[in-house]
Amino acid sequence: MWEYTDKVKDHFLNPRNAGEIEDADGVGEVGSLACGDALTLYFKLDENKRIKDAKFQTFGCASAIASSSALTEMIKGLTLEEAKKITNEDIADFLGGLPKEKMHCSVMGRDALEKAIANYLGEEEKRVEGEIVCECFGVTDQEIERVVRENNLSTIEDVTDYVKAGGGCGSCHEKIQEIIDSILGREHPVKKKPAKLTNIQKIRMIEETLEREIKPALKKDGGDIELVDVDGNTVFVRLHGMCATCSKSQVTLKHYVETKLRELVLPELEVEEVQQ
């Protein structure tokens, strides 16, 4: 059982400002179904450019819903300049604190807010900067550096609690430790490397490509395809209908789905079929 504060429970059981703003001025989407939590934040400005209304839609656990609810309450009445200053710590504090393992919910709130403001300002969605450290959750060195600095984190476990990095297979623990060490020692700043897709972006692009490009083509032949899992660069799919029983399905997969995904998402992707 998580030890949630009464305020977390209250915002979970009685969420404020749940819903959608159809003519929102700014919208920020973070997370995904695959990761287990996702938040869409909407805000509307008044004539003085203050946030007049804020709403959210959240898929996730109690603390994710409570953090979203808290965030909408916090930003109402603020100018965008003021709103920009809200940190994940502020969100957690507003709720009387979050269990350490749940701090990533407050980080998700802050990220959604940043995205919504960027969306209003018409800024291009920022390419993720830095090098992917945690493949499982698609977290870059720069994201890790930021939470380590902002929250004075000192262990790998802390980093996992705040941005999930290191919470999957664990193979990035060494890299995370190096980042922490370099910040604590402030000796070896981590080198910037070219941008790479995060896992979340990758999964989303795969989903979109399947929906837009691949499904319609398969449906013409009476078949369908379902995304089951993405593990690193391997995409697991299940075929339905005609495709599942067609002896050529392997060929269909290799030559069609894979080519499409490689062309439109990432050249390194491999497709594997999961049996019924």
Binding site: E29, L33, A38, F59, G60, A62, E226, D229, R238, Q275
Partner: protein
């Protein structure tokens, strides 16, 4: 608030009859069962009785029962005994959907000199038997496959697997923690070499378990110490709990009949009503071969921990395979191995009943759950009604 407990695969209530038996063995008859004096010796006799009762539950000889501290210890003892007494063999076969007690031990061993083959399961959670058989080799020290899965309740065809494995002269262990007391388990019919039992899953207290070791099975102790348990496990016996386990074993023989009729009826009613009343909900796992008390149901587009906490407001206790509930960040390895899509894996809830559940409780859950799911879906950005 009334508690509606449908999380019996996690742990069970200690049966009042069990507790009653145990109470005498704390302050009253506290002697050491190994002592020469009759004050201790009489406790030794009670242990003997408990051993006979557990043996009787699974069709074993009393000498073939070893008492341990929990299911995990039984699993560790079995697997380590097999590899320690077959030092030349460096291969282990298990399934991808084992309880962490077996899974994590095997993963540990795979990093420490052993080759481990994890047998996959299909979408219904059924083992790929051909894969298992194909991977048996002269180097295989042990095959360890659970009798029934704790998350989905899917029962594996242990009888068939045992025959094939034993033909090759390979040791077979089964983690039967979820099966014993719920379905008939008889080692005369299903000739496993070792079988793990946990007390607190069958209405005995936490902190006690048992391991069945077929006569003639090569063995090497895990806990090395005194002569207790004929030198197979050192350490003074957890007397009161073992006596409780014996009583629970006796009750379980009666309960198996009730499980297969009354508990199954309640489980089926719960499952059918939920599926009928809640759209985009589905059962995980093979419903043909399943424990009578368990159902794992996924609710698309909502997250399990949130469901559990809302049910908690009504006193309903269940569990989830979602990432958030485990403290880890990934959903259950069982559902992932089955290929349950993310949309459903994060929103999975396991209900596991016992003989103590009533029809009224099931009606209550069926009434309270649909609005909870509807409410969470309203909040979810992925739900398009």
């Amino acid at each position: 608030m009334k508690v509606i407990y449908v999380d019996n695969n996690a742990t069970t209530k200690v049966a009042p009859e069990v507790l009653q038996e145990m109470l005498h063995y704390f302050s009253e008859f506290y002697g050491n069962p190994s002592s020469m004096h009759s004050f201790g010796g009489q406790v030794g006799l009670k242990l003997k009785e408990a051993r006979a009762k557990i043996a009787n539950l699974i069709g074993a000889e009393p000498d073939e029962i070893l008492f341990t501290s929990c299911g995990t210890e039984s699993d560790s003892t079995a697997i380590r005994a097999a590899i320690m007494s077959n030092p030349d063999k460096k291969h282990i076969i298990t399934s991808r959907v084992e309880h962490p007690a077996v899974k994590n031990l095997c993963e540990y061993l795979s990093k420490n000199g052993y080759r481990v083959t994890f047998v996959p399961v299909d979408r219904e959670g059924r083992l790929d038997l051909e894969f298992l058989y194909r991977n048996l080799s002269d180097d295989t020290a042990i095959v360890s496959i659970m009798w029934a899965n704790n998350e989905t309740g899917v029962i594996f065809p242990i009888e068939e697997i045992v025959q094939v494995v034993k033909e090759r002269g390979i040791v077979f262990h089964t983690d039967a923690v979820q099966a014993v007391g719920k379905v008939p388990v008889d080692v005369r019919k299903v000739e496993v070499d070792m079988l793990s039992i946990s007390g607190h899953k069958i209405h005995a207290p936490k902190g006690v378990g048992a391991l069945y070791i077929r006569k003639g099975t090569k063995y090497s102790p895990f806990l090395i110490g005194g002569h207790q348990e004929k030198g197979r496990r050192g350490g003074t016996e957890n007397v009161a709990s073992i006596i409780g386990l014996g009583k629970a074993g006796e009750l379980a023989i009666d309960n198996i009949g009730k499980e297969s009729v009354r508990v199954k009826h309640l489980r089926d009613k719960l499952e059918n009503e939920i599926l009928k009343r809640i759209p985009n909900s589905m059962v995980n796992g093979d419903t043909e071969n399943r424990l009578p008390n368990t159902t794992s149901i996924s609710f698309e587009f909502v997250e399990g921990e949130a469901i559990l906490l809302m049910m908690d407001e009504f006193g309903i206790c269940a569990s989830s395979g979602s990432a958030c509930t485990s403290g880890s960040l990934e959903p259950s390895h069982v559902l992932r191995s089955m290929g349950v899509p993310f949309t459903a894996a994060h929103g999975s809830i396991r209900f596991s009943l016992s003989v103590y559940n009533t029809e009224e409780e099931i009606d209550y859950i069926v009434e309270k759950l649909p609005p909870i799911i509807a409410r969470l879906r309203e909040l979810s950005p992925f739900w398009k009604a």
